[in-house]
C-alpha cells in the first residue's frame, strides 16, 4: 500500500510540470499586453521599456518560464502587475471564500444527491424515480450562470428571502451554494441510483434476502455501502471541478474568491495572478483525483488486496 502511494505521488511530478507549461504558455500566446493597462495617456516608449524590464517581460519566454517555475516551487508566486501586491496575499484572501462556497456546495451535492439517488433506486420506475431523474436531467444541463440569475429572480426579487448578491453572513451563501450544488446533486443522484440498482442484482444481496433480512435494511446497510464507492470517487474528482465552477457563480453573485480574482486579472492581463489562480484550480483537480484514488483504495477490499 505504501509503495503504491509513493508511486502515485511521484506520478504527480510530471503531471504538475505539464500543467505548469500549459498554464504558462497559453497566457503568453493569447494577445494582449498587461503593460497597456499600466501606461497612461502621455507615456513615452522609454517608460514602457522600463516597466517591461521591471516585471521581467523583456526576457525570452523560456527564461521567463524558468524563473517563474523556480519561484513557484520555492513558494513565491510573484507580485501582481496591476494590483501591485504579492500574489500570495491575493490568493490567501480569495481562497478561503472559494473553499467555503465550494465545500458547502460539495456537501449539499453529497447529502441531497445521495438521498435522491437512494429514493430513486428504491422506487425504481415508479413516479418518484421518474420525477427525480427528470429533475436530474434538468439540473445537470442548466448553465450555472443562468441558473444563478433565475434563483436570484425567484428567491431574492420575488420572494425576498435572500440577498441578491454579496458576501455578508451565511444568508448570502445560500443561493450561490444552490447554484453550484445543483449540478453536482444531479450527477451524484444519478450515479447513486445506477450503482444501487447494479449492486442490488449481486449474489450477496440474494444471500441477504435468503437470510431473511428486511429489504429496506438490505438496501440501506449493505447495498448502499457497496454503491457508495463510485460516488466517493466522483465526489473527489468534483473537488477541482467545483472550484472551477465557482468562477462564474462568484461573478454573478459579486462574491470574493478565486473566480472573481481570476476574471478580473484576466481582463487586466495581470499574468502572475492569472497563472497563480489557474495553478490553484489545476492543483485542486490533481489533488482531488489523488484523493479519489486513495479513498477508493481504502474502501474497496479488492483494490486493497491487490495492492498489498
Amino acid at each position: 500500500m505504501l509503495s503504491w502511494l509513493v508511486k502515485r505521488l511521484l506520478m504527480l511530478v510530471p503531471v504538475f510540470l505539464a500543467v505548469s507549461v500549459v498554464i504558462f504558455s497559453i497566457l503568453h500566446f493569447i494577445p494582449g499586453d498587461p503593460i497597456d493597462n499600466l501606461l497612461k495617456i502621455g507615456s513615452s516608449p522609454e517608460a514602457r521599456a522600463e516597466v517591461e524590464a521591471r516585471y521581467g517581460l523583456d526576457k525570452p519566454l523560456p527564461v521567463q518560464y524558468g524563473i517563474w517555475l523556480g519561484n513557484v516551487l520555492t513558494g513565491d508566486l510573484g507580485t501582481a502587475i496591476v494590483a501591485r501586491r504579492p500574489v500570495a496575499d491575493l490568493i490567501a484572501q480569495a481562497l478561503p471564500h472559494s473553499l467555503r462556497l465550494g465545500g458547502l456546495a460539495l456537501l449539499f451535492s453529497t447529502v441531497v444527491g445521495v438521498t435522491l439517488g437512494v429514493v430513486a433506486a428504491l422506487l425504481r420506475d415508479r413516479w418518484p424515480d421518474r420525477a427525480i431523474m427528470g429533475g436530474v436531467l434538468l439540473g445537470s444541463t442548466m448553465p450555472s450562470f443562468w441558473l444563478g440569475l433565475i434563483l436570484i429572480l425567484i428567491f431574492s426579487v420575488s420572494l425576498g428571502w435572500f440577498p441578491v448578491s454579496g458576501a455578508r453572513g451565511w444568508e448570502s451563501l445560500v443561493l450561490p451554494v444552490l447554484t453550484i450544488g445543483l449540478g453536482g446533486t444531479a450527477l451524484v443522484a444519478r450515479i447513486t441510483r445506477v450503482s444501487m440498482i447494479e449492486a442490488s442484482g449481486r449474489d450477496f444481496v440474494m444471500l441477504l434476502h435468503a437470510k431473511g433480512l428486511s429489504p429496506l435494511r438490505i438496501q440501506l446497510r449493505h447495498v448502499l455501502r457497496h454503491a457508495l464507492i463510485p460516488v466517493v470517487t466522483i465526489l473527489a474528482l468534483r473537488i477541482g471541478w467545483i472550484l472551477g465552477g465557482a468562477v462564474t457563480v462568484e461573478v454573478v453573485f459579486a462574491r470574493p474568491g478565486l473566480g472573481t480574482l481570476l476574471i478580473k486579472s484576466l481582463s487586466q492581463h495581470d499574468y502572475p495572478v492569472v497563472q497563480a489562480c489557474l495553478l490553484m484550480l489545476a492543483m485542486a483537480v490533481i489533488l482531488g483525483t489523488l484523493l479519489g484514488d486513495i479513498l477508493q483504495a481504502l474502501m474497496d477490499p479488492r483494490v486493497r488486496a491487490a495492492l498489498s
Binding site: 493569447i30 495617456i41 491575493l90 447529502v111 441578491v164 454573478v252 459579486a254 470574493p256
Partner: protein
C-alpha cells in the same frame, strides 16, 4: 443520511425566520454600487494607483475643482496666479484644513506631497513632472517653480490622481497606505476596505472646505456610505430593484428601459466624457486617398445613430473632442457632419463608379473594406448601422469582431482599414494621444503621420505658455487633424446612473464634470 437531511431542513426554516425579520437599512446611510469599470481597484493610494474609483474622490480633496463646463474653481487652494512666462505658479491655500489623522494641511504638506510624485515608484509621476520645485512662501502660500510652462497644470491638479495625501502617514504606512489605512482631507474617512468587495466611508465631521461649486461645503449630509463592487450589471440592477443598493454609479444602455419601468427608480444623466468614432487607416488603400476618407466620414449619419442605436440619449459628435471642451469649438467647415451628396460626389471624383449591385468599382475592383469592432453587444449593434450607412454610398464594409481586450494588439499590426471604437477622456491632449506619429498602430489606430500635424502638435503640447495659448494651439491642431479625415466622429454618450427615489434626494443641479465630492456633499437620504 435521513437524519442529516432532516437537520438541514430544520436549519433552513430557522434561518428563514431570521431572514424575514432582517431589518431595512438604518437612516442616514446609503449603499452605492460602484461603476462596473471601476470594480477591482486595488488601492486608494492616488500616487501609486493606475486605477482609482469614485470613493477615492471623497477621501482626498484637490487644490482645484472643476465645474460642469470644465472651468476651474477653488477647493483646497483659495486662489492662484500664473507668472506671465508660465514658469511659476503661486497658490494661496485655505486655512483651518486638517487631515483625517489630525495633521494640519499647509504649505509644507503641499511641498512634501508633491515630492512624493518624484520619490514614489509608479506611473503617475508625469502628473507633477513639470513642477521642478516647490517653495514655501508662508504658512499658506506655495510657489511652484516650473521646468517648462504647463498650461495643463490646473487640469492635473483637479484630477483624482492629485488628491492631496497626508505625507507623514504615507511614509510610515508604505504599501499599506491606501489599503489598510488612508488619510486625506476629504469629506469622508475610510472605515473599511475589502478589495473587490466593498468600501465603507464615514463622514468627516470637521469638514467645512468643500469645492466651490457644491451648495453644501460640509460636513456631508449622509453619515455612512457603502460602496459595493458588483461586476455583473444585471446583478447590480436586481440589487437596486430589491432595495439592497440605493444608487448605481453606472447603468448600461440596455438596462435603462428596465430602470424606467420601476416606479421607485429614476435615471440620472450627466454629460459624458466619451466619444465614439470610426478611425480610418490613412495608409491603407483606398483610404490613402483623402477624398475616399472624407466620403466615408461624411457617409456616417450621426443623428440616425443617436436615435436608432442610443434611443436619443446623449448627443452626436462632430469633432474628435467632447463638446464641453473649449478646444472642440472649431470652425464650422472643419466639423465632420453627414453629407451623402458630398460623399457620393467625392467617390465619383476619385474614380469609384457605382456598380450594378450597389457597390462602387474602380479598374474592375469593388470598393470593399474591412471594418473592425469589439465584441461588446453595443459595439456590434453600432457597427452594423455604420456598415449599412457606408453601403448607402457604395462602400461595402465587412465586419470583423475582436475580443475587447485583444483588439489593441490587432491594431498594432496596422492591418485595419476602418474600425468602430470609443475613448474616455476630458482633455484636448487626447488628440495627441490618438494621432501622434510616434504611436502608430495603437493608440494611433489611424496610422496618421502628417508633418504639419506634428508641428501643430508640438506647439500644442509643449509650446503654450498659458491656458489661452494652449486652448488656441490645441484648437488649431484639432481642427487641422479633422480636415485630414483620419476618423469620423459618431456619438457622445452621457454618464447614466440610477437611484431609488424613495431613498435618495439629489441636489437640483450637480455643477461638476462627474458624480464626485460636490454631488456627495449635497446628497441626502430620505427618512
Amino acid at each position: 443520511m435521513t437524519v442529516s437531511f432532516r437537520k438541514s431542513v430544520l436549519a433552513a426554516s430557522v434561518s428563514l425566520a431570521a431572514l424575514l425579520s432582517a431589518q431595512a437599512l438604518a437612516a442616514q446611510e446609503a449603499v452605492f454600487a460602484m461603476s462596473t469599470n471601476e470594480v477591482g481597484a486595488p488601492t486608494y493610494n492616488p500616487i501609486k494607483a493606475t486605477m482609482l474609483n469614485t470613493a477615492t474622490g471623497l477621501l482626498f480633496d484637490r487644490l482645484v475643482s472643476q465645474a460642469a463646463d470644465l472651468s476651474y474653481h477653488p477647493w483646497l487652494a483659495e486662489s492662484w496666479e500664473e507668472a506671465p512666462d508660465g514658469m511659476s505658479w503661486t497658490f494661496k491655500l485655505k486655512q483651518g484644513v486638517t487631515f483625517h489623522n489630525g495633521e494640519p494641511f499647509n504649505a509644507e504638506t503641499v511641498k512634501a506631497w508633491l515630492e512624493l510624485f518624484k520619490t514614489t515608484e509608479g506611473e503617475n509621476a508625469y502628473m507633477a513632472e513639470a513642477i521642478a520645485s516647490v517653495e514655501v512662501l508662508d504658512d499658506h502660500t506655495v510657489k511652484f517653480v516650473m521646468s517648462r510652462p504647463e498650461p495643463n497644470l490646473l487640469y492635473n491638479l483637479s484630477s483624482t490622481f492629485m488628491g492631496v495625501v497626508e505625507p507623514k502617514s504615507f511614509a510610515a504606512l508604505g504599501d499599506n497606505y491606501g489599503v489598510t489605512e488612508v488619510y486625506g482631507t476629504g469629506p469622508y474617512k475610510l472605515e473599511s476596505f475589502s478589495i473587490g468587495q466593498e468600501t465603507v466611508l464615514v463622514r468627516n465631521e470637521d469638514y467645512t472646505w468643500g469645492p466651490e461649486m457644491a451648495k453644501n461645503h460640509g460636513p456631508a449630509k449622509v453619515e455612512r456610505l457603502t460602496f459595493r463592487e458588483i461586476p455583473e450589471d444585471s446583478t447590480a440592477f436586481l440589487e437596486l430593484k430589491t432595495g439592497g443598493v440605493d444608487f448605481l454609479l453606472s447603468v448600461p444602455a440596455d438596462l435603462m428601459g428596465e430602470v424606467q419601468k420601476e416606479a421607485n427608480l429614476a435615471v440620472l444623466t450627466m454629460a459624458g466624457q466619451d466619444v465614439w468614432y470610426m478611425p480610418i487607416n490613412v495608409t491603407k488603400a483606398p483610404f490613402d486617398d483623402i477624398r475616399v476618407r472624407e466620403a466615408a466620414a461624411k457617409a456616417i449619419n450621426q443623428e440616425e445613430i443617436l436615435a436608432a442605436v442610443f434611443g436619443g440619449v446623449g448627443a452626436v459628435a462632430d469633432t474628435f473632442l467632447i463638446s464641453a471642451l473649449p478646444e472642440s469649438h472649431v470652425s464650422d467647415g472643419a466639423k465632420i457632419k453627414y453629407d451623402p451628396a458630398r460623399a457620393n460626389a467625392l467617390l465619383d471624383e476619385a474614380g469609384w463608379v457605382m456598380g450594378a449591385n450597389g457597390v462602387r468599382e474602380k479598374d474592375g475592383q469593388p470598393l470593399k473594406v474591412s471594418l473592425w469592432t469589439q465584441s461588446d453587444s453595443i459595439f456590434r449593434r453600432l457597427t452594423e448601422v455604420v456598415q449599412a450607412q457606408l453601403k448607402a454610398v457604395g462602400i461595402e464594409a465587412e465586419i470583423t469582431t475582436f475580443d475587447s481586450s485583444t483588439i489593441r494588439d490587432q491594431y498594432k499590426t496596422g492591418e485595419q482599414q476602418l474600425a468602430v471604437r470609443s475613448y474616455n477622456w476630458d482633455n484636448a491632449d487626447i488628440v495627441d494621444w490618438f494621432f501622434g506619429a510616434d504611436r502608430l498602430g495603437y493608440p494611433n489606430v489611424s496610422m496618421f503621420n502628417d508633418p504639419k500635424a506634428e508641428e501643430l502638435r508640438a506647439a500644442a503640447m509643449t509650446g503654450s505658455k498659458n491656458m489661452e495659448e494652449r486652448i488656441a494651439n490645441f484648437t488649431a491642431y484639432h481642427e487641422y487633424v479633422l480636415t485630414q479625415f483620419p476618423m469620423a466622429p459618431i456619438y457622445q454618450p452621457v454618464q447614466a446612473m440610477a437611484y431609488n427615489k424613495d431613498r435618495i434626494a439629489l441636489p437640483e443641479k450637480i455643477d461638476a464634470p462627474s458624480f464626485g465630492a460636490a454631488a456627495f456633499l449635497d446628497l441626502e437620504v430620505k427618512e
